[in-house]
């Protein structure tokens, strides 16, 4: 288990649910708690209701918005390695084994290595961050991720001056990932970031959500989260991180180059060729909402793209 007990919130800090949640949210949270309990081994000392996301003090990167339920986050997924329906990843990822796991770091770095997952994560104090996630399809969701800044790993491996981009690769295991048996996308899934995007404090390497280790359908055991970009940039089940000189290929760009660009910053002004990006449906809400520039993280990231034509570099 990567998530250690001492990081868990003390029972005295948990707000009584009646006073904090409205009845509707309570019902949703209660069903999520039921599922969470069923999925988790009960460790002595853990308190009932821990599976509802208890909001502690708001961190500098947290959004104020209501966190989606554990059930919503873990049953409505795009992870084509397990199938292309939204329910496929939770239904068909049962055979996937996220342990033992290694991550290879190579390319233009002074300290290339192959890490066992535990050794990769050990030096870092895991942070909980409540981020918005906006899918390119036009829906969004708010997730309490648990991880550490990618920048910390980058500093550890000491990239050379030739490192201009970071590229990531997902595991290729068609026997455990039935979706990989068809080439709906080119496997293995690859993604990439510009060096300054990778070093940005918002960019996270994530190993958990809702205070627990990542479930298979969310990209176990380790994935990337880049909240100002469309969700498909958040590559899942990472086995390789390479530092390269040239802008690397990315899977959705390979699949449809005129629809999915390298940058894929959330941008209501630049429509997808086939649908508008001006609005989005927040999971759990009835009415649609206006999409925000850079998914609402403009204050933190707009400077990375100053002077760039975001219509050209979509």
């Amino acid at each position: 288990m990567l998530i250690r007990n001492q990081d868990d919130i003390r029972s005295s800090q948990i707000t009584p649910e009646g006073s904090y949640y409205s009845r509707r949210e309570f019902m949703r949270a209660a069903s999520a708690a039921g599922i969470g309990l069923a999925m988790e081994t009960l460790v002595p000392g853990r308190i009932l209701g821990q599976d509802r996301w208890p909001r502690g003090k708001k961190g500098p990167y947290d959004t104020d918005e209501e966190v989606n339920s554990f059930k919503e986050i873990t049953t409505y997924n795009n992870f084509y390695e397990f199938g292309t329906d939204k329910s496929d990843p939770s239904e068909y990822s049962g055979d996937f084994k996220p342990r033992p796991w290694t991550v290879e770091v190579d390319g233009a770095v002074k300290k290339p290595a192959v890490y066992h997952l535990e050794d990769l994560v050990k030096p870092y104090k895991l942070e909980d961050r409540i981020y918005r996630m906006r899918c390119v399809e036009g829906w969004s969701i708010v997730i309490p991720w648990r991880g550490f800044p990618l920048a910390d790993l980058i500093k550890r491996v000491e990239p050379t001056s030739r490192a201009k981009f970071v590229t990531f690769e997902t595991v290729y295991r068609p026997a455990e990932m039935p979706g990989q048996q068809r080439s709906v996308l080119e496997w293995p899934y690859v993604e990439g970031l510009r060096m300054d995007e990778a070093m940005h404090p918002l960019t996270l390497l994530v190993v958990g959500l809702y205070g627990k280790d990542l479930l298979n359908q969310n990209g176990a055991p380790i994935r990337l989260v880049v909240p100002w970009k469309y969700g498909f940039k958040g590559i899942k089940s990472i086995v390789k991180i390479s530092f390269v000189e040239q802008q690397p290929p990315t899977t959705w760009n390979i699949s449809a180059p005129n629809e999915y660009g390298f940058y894929s910053n959330v941008n209501p002004e630049v429509d997808h060729p086939r649908w508008s990006q001006k609005t989005e449906r927040r999971i759990g809400e009835f009415f649609k909402r206006k999409t925000l520039m850079f998914n609402g993280y403009a204050d933190q990231v707009a400077h990375l793209y100053a002077g760039m034509d975001l219509r050209k570099y979509y």
């Binding site: 059930k71 969701i141 086939r274 009835f286 649609k288």
Partner: protein, 207 residues
């Protein structure tokens, strides 16, 4: 048996809607229920179009004349689900924002072709009653209702153009449509070949 077919088929055709409502009320749709409703109603529109197109080939092959009476009902159900699909888009997706809808329709090819398919269904639904068919005359009615081929094709293209990468389901419908249209082409062409052969034989006969 014959008298039971129509009511049974009618109820069966309502089942997809029934299931959708049931799942919706019991919170069994996904985290994005409006998307589910849009997809389900769209899929059933396409399925009823295929079912409607399958009736005549089925009758010609099996000789079951009774299925022909179901064709109109299935066609109207295609229009029914198509209307639900369109209304879901208009209201639950766009909230009757006609400004953005009118902008969307010509700009997004998959919506253009989907909207076209729906609009073409309207005259067919409107002229489905026996009285109106009689008033129109058989030949004119048949010609109008041949639009169903274009409607079905437009529906398949609509589906193909909206999927992100998984083209298997829409291509499956394309294959089914190709087979059904293949049958129609065969029924059209075969008697004409026979006529040609007959004409050729008559010419070859000594006077």
């Amino acid at each position: 048996m014959k008298r039971v077919i129509k009511p049974v088929a009618f109820v069966a055709a309502l089942l997809p809607l029934g299931f959708l409502v049931w799942h919706g009320l019991h919170g069994e749709l996904s985290a994005n229920p409006i998307s589910d409703i849009t997809n389900e109603t769209g899929t059933w529109t396409l399925r009823f179009l295929m079912i409607t197109l399958a009736v005549t080939p089925l009758r010609r092959i099996t000789g079951w004349s009774s299925v022909q009476r179901l064709r109109r009902m299935f066609g109207l159900f295609a229009f029914f689900y198509g209307s639900l699909h369109f209304m879901t888009y208009l209201y639950l997706d766009q909230f009757l924002d006609f400004n953005s809808i009118l902008h969307d329709i010509p700009k997004r090819p998959f919506i253009t072709v989907g909207f076209t398919a729906f609009v073409l269904m309207i005259p067919l639904a409107a002229t489905s009653m026996d009285k109106i068919a009689k008033w129109m005359g058989g030949e004119r009615w048949r010609r109008l209702h041949r639009l169903v081929y274009a409607i079905a094709a437009a529906g398949v293209i609509h589906y193909l153009w909206l999927v992100k990468a998984d083209t298997r389901p829409p291509l499956a419908y394309a294959a089914i449509l190709a087979v059904l249209l293949g049958f129609r082409a065969w029924f059209y062409v075969r008697p004409r070949f026979a006529q040609l052969r007959l004409a050729a034989r008559k010419e070859a006969e000594p006077a």
